[in-house]
């Protein structure tokens, strides 16, 4: 009993000393807190206050009463969404486009980076790198504009090719069946060079000694890439995979929205564009917030799950 009290007072004294020390340290550097204040206010206002607004998903928004004063309606909006015939099509489109672009696009940047890493002609390497990186800087609007010009049934170069070989012009942007492929391959065209730079950065860290040892042991180039280069960039690959799983529900809605037309909407409507149309075009705030919340929660779950899997099966993870 006595010992216990002694220990406790000792602990109290120590903790008080730590607190005093901490306060003194905080006071000495009060200016750091002042500097941090504006960015902190920014995230609180522009990121955390909207999170408070998520309650709209469970309310019926009334303009007069505002977010706080609107009446609760429970899961009404979620019921409405999941019972509507279009909901599953929209979810299927979102996940489908996402997985398609993950499966089709994931290997290209790695291939490009590994190939560029093998090239010794500096001029050739620089030129290829610069040109493949350039599309990343083309804005979404311009990219879709280019796409529509090139795929145009009348003046587009693709259809001029088709007619050259005796085929009939096709309105490619108007065919629902082609939408996913057009979107995915356009993003691959735009993003491969950019993503390759990340892998190139990782490849530049591969140890030269290891490479030389392989050469002396008579390993072929292919074996060296397989046994030295790829393991070296494995953490980067894993982390980028985890990140893309965390973005499965966030397909590039800015681009898809621009590519949509009444003819391809059955395959091109995704959750984010639907949220925009329901919420801001039709001003159905609560319903739209509910769908948006569903989207964010699924995303968060996927990211956490992917990170958990990465941690379990490999030695690299986001956190």
């Amino acid at each position: 009993m006595k010992a216990d009290v002694l220990v406790r007072t000792d602990w109290n004294r120590k903790s008080r000393r730590i607190t005093r020390h901490t306060i003194r340290r905080m006071l000495a550097h009060w200016q750091l807190y002042v500097i941090l204040l504006p960015p902190l206010l920014y995230v609180i206002i522009f990121h955390y206050i909207p999170m408070y607004g998520i309650q709209l998903a469970f309310k019926q928004f009334q303009a007069m009463s505002g977010i706080g004063g609107s009446p609760w309606v429970g899961f009404k909006h979620f019921d409405q969404f999941f019972n509507s015939p279009s909901s599953w099509r929209i979810i299927r489109n979102t996940v489908g486009i996402s997985l398609y672009s993950l499966a089709a696009g994931f290997a290209f940047p790695i291939l490009l980076a590994v190939a560029l890493n093998e090239v010794r002609g500096r001029f050739f390497k620089k030129t290829v790198q610069m040109v493949t990186y350039a599309p990343y800087f083309i804005s979404t609007v311009v990219l879709v504009g280019m796409l529509m010009q090139i795929l145009d049934p009348r003046i587009g170069v693709i259809n001029q090719f088709i007619t050259l070989f005796g085929g009939d012009p096709v309105n490619l942007m108007g065919k629902a069946a082609y939408f996913k492929s057009i979107y995915v391959w356009t993003t691959i065209w735009q993003g491969t060079g950019y993503s390759a730079v990340i892998y190139l950065a990782a490849l530049s860290g591969v140890s030269k000694d290891l490479q030389e040892a392989c050469v002396i042991d008579g390993a072929s180039k292919l074996r060296r890439i397989w046994h030295v280069d790829l393991p070296a960039i494995r953490p980067t690959i894993v982390i980028l995979l985890v990140l893309s799983f965390g973005n499965v529900m966030n397909v590039g809605y800015e681009m898809i929205f621009l590519m949509q037309n009444s003819l391809n909407l059955t395959t091109s409507e995704i959750i984010s564009t639907y949220v925009y149309k329901v919420g801001l075009v039709n001003a159905n705030f609560s319903f739209s917030t509910a769908i948006g919340l569903f989207n964010s929660v699924i995303n968060l779950i996927l990211l956490v799950a992917a990170n958990y899997a990465a941690k379990k099966f490999t030695d690299s993870s986001l956190w």
Binding site: L32, Y48, V142, G145
Partner: protein, 301 residues
Amino acid sequence: MEAHPNRLMKESPGDRIFNVATYLYLAIVFVLVAYPLIYVVSASFSAPSAVISGKVWLWPVEPTLNGYEAVFKNKQLVSGFANSLFYMVAGTLINLVMTVMAAFPLSRKELFGRNLFMAIFLFTMLFSGGLIPTFLLVRDLGLLDTRWAMILPVALSVWNLIITRTYFQATIPDELYEAASMDGCTDFRFLLRMALPLSAPILAVMALYYGVGHWNSYFNALIYLKSPDLQPLQIILRNILVLNQLDPTMMQDFEVLQRKQGLADIVKYAVIVVASLPVLLIYPFVQKYFVRGIMIGAIKG
């Protein structure tokens, strides 16, 4: 450059095949990426009749500047260009100030509660309020249809904050900071006199990232802006390229010409080139900074 390990030994036949395959692969990728770019530029300089009848494959046919003339006569495009320039410059300045003000304190061990503050920032990358709650906030703040709506909601990118913070931690040694503190240098002074001059490279990278982001974005303008005279270039481009709405005042100007030559089709190509030009022109010169930025980011993962 040190000798590449390949030079140490004679290459085996298998390796030679591999080399050829590598170059072939890169050449194919190069052509696939470059061809659409070259085609668009060539079409913008070609006679409309040549483009429509499919005579343009690689180089301009019957070169003309008519398309460009129409672009520079279009008042909407010119005003959009000016607006975008304003959003880019003002937005990037605020971005830089905010990023440094967040990254510097968060890079210092002396900031008690640093992990908690960092967590507050990082959580916004995982979860967000979504479109409607954010829109309602911007509306309630009275920012709708003002220039502020293009700048304040995107005043800071947490991703860029992480990169800048990593840079600060790597380049400003704790000893330097402690020594300055001992000598009575305040944190304000240290930031202005020591940290900022040391961080010029990262500020250049950040300015580029933010700048290109502002220049290319359209979605915030779509949801927050209504007035025609506030619209950035990307919205005007969307009207012309995607929605096929050429400004009627512009149409009158060359309606006669258009009937004769189908100019409207070519104007689109010229618009694409003019809108991408500012970024693509500076790009070769700043490319290495972008690459460096990615590398700094990659350190932390």
